[in-house]
Symmetry: C2
Subunit: 325 residues, 2 copies
Amino acid sequence: LRASRRDLARLLTRVENGHAHDELSTLFPYTGQAHVIGVTGAPGTGKSTLVNALAKAYRAEGITVAVVAVDPTSPFTGGAILGDRIRMRELSGDPGTFIRSMATRGSLGGLAHTTSDVVRVFDAAGYDVILIETVGAGQSEVDIARAAQTTLVVEAPGLGDDVQAIKAGILEIADVLVVNKADRPGVEHTVRALRAMLDLGHRAERVLHHGTLMAAADSARLPALPDEMTAWQTPVVQTIASEGTGVDEVLARLHAHRDYLRTTGTLIQRERAHAQAELLTRVRDALFTKWIAGQDQLLLGDLIARIAAREMSPAQVVTRLIDGG
Amino acid sequence: LRASRRDLARLLTRVENGHAHDELSTLFPYTGQAHVIGVTGAPGTGKSTLVNALAKAYRAEGITVAVVAVDPTSPFTGGAILGDRIRMRELSGDPGTFIRSMATRGSLGGLAHTTSDVVRVFDAAGYDVILIETVGAGQSEVDIARAAQTTLVVEAPGLGDDVQAIKAGILEIADVLVVNKADRPGVEHTVRALRAMLDLGHRAERVLHHGTLMAAADSARLPALPDEMTAWQTPVVQTIASEGTGVDEVLARLHAHRDYLRTTGTLIQRERAHAQAELLTRVRDALFTKWIAGQDQLLLGDLIARIAAREMSPAQVVTRLIDGG
């Protein structure tokens, strides 16, 4: 809790490698203090620049900041984020800031767990604000961002039709919407389109669809979580993050959303939804790990060969393995 | 196998809703004939236009084509792909073409299963080529594309630094690399950069890292799959898909890759890797479904509340639930 930077870095490495179960259980009661903010959006929107600008703006108010950059650049080699060294240089030397890049080793499901755990370490270590930055705009990145208390979605003018298509889904999770690169042509059109989409509004569905296991939980009749209050109106803020323009307004909106979460009870609802999704995912993975450890690997290899040869369908093999059919 | 379009559409709906287990097992032995091609790439690269152009080029050779468009636009409302109606109009009326859009209902893991099943339906129905188009460039989209036999990655000049960063990972799965919008400025720079990255070459890792469960399988010492032969040199083809320019060369490369897969035994290796990943994912989900059906839902709700209140950590609850600790 009062660890040195070096000790903190070591613990984070152990957490990322899955070797810190005891430490995580020990520090868990000390979490829940930080404001956890997910920042997501399509490639090319300037997310990293905005995250850096926000970190500096928080620091100017005396608020400590940890940045967790989730990096899907390589499913294979676990490459580090481009420009990460530049960012480190810009913000380093300041003991109130800590930047951690995470690569997607193995599954993004696993990464979502690990991200939660890394956030907990920073939370217990006393960082006031934790920014989770996800590069990309796929479902899994959205899941990671959604593990945050506040979700900031970054857009930019003129990114083409595919990006437009992605907006529909990503808008529904936005608590604060930023149109970055606001000096580009077409910014007014983008802002107008976003406001129109926000007005359509599907936000009430947020809690019920949280996480990736809700379908299974639904069918098992887990107690339904109540819909969120919808008193919060998602603001649309224009920024030019590279020049710092508009960053203070984003900060004000983030402060306001934090207050909203705490005063309306929405925070407790989100934390419960997050706890449920995380618990169910962890149970699923634990069940699988236990199961595979008890399998005859030669038999399993043979069954896989039979699927590839079209002799048995995957569903038939699953039935045989699980139900002994 | 000789179904009418309407029957086929009905079966696909049943498959997407998870209600066609028997039909899938029945048709499974008839699969394995089609050339399954995954098309992926970042937003703004013009994937859909390229897929349409490829479908038309295949049809001009008398080859039947099914297109499976995986649409991550909305994790909530399951929105249909923008422009889908336009595409339908352009290619419809031709009995040799079938386009199916899939929304991401629930998890992308589930979507990867369903996509595999939809591909099998088209395969058994006799379509010669099946194009799986994924919008986006996240890990999960890559997993879906990887379920294909041949992976085509689409790039475009001038999409910014984030896209550049994503390339490193996505390049490693490319069998054919297309630089679309080749009339844009900077195309030579993009092609040069891609060739340089290809030369770095991490392709040998492909099979071992296939799927999202390999870490668990590795630790359980499943028989390792052999590395792929690396005799295939990923070509870089420039296209202007909207005008049809370069599409014939892409088609020639796809034909060549199909021949390469069949003559070198690489196809069998990929099918085995795919079978392994799919089997393990299905087992994991089946174990979880079975487990949750047997749970006391009130107890589970109470444990979730205790996590949210920081009284027990997620790991502690998992231990109690799984091991009765």
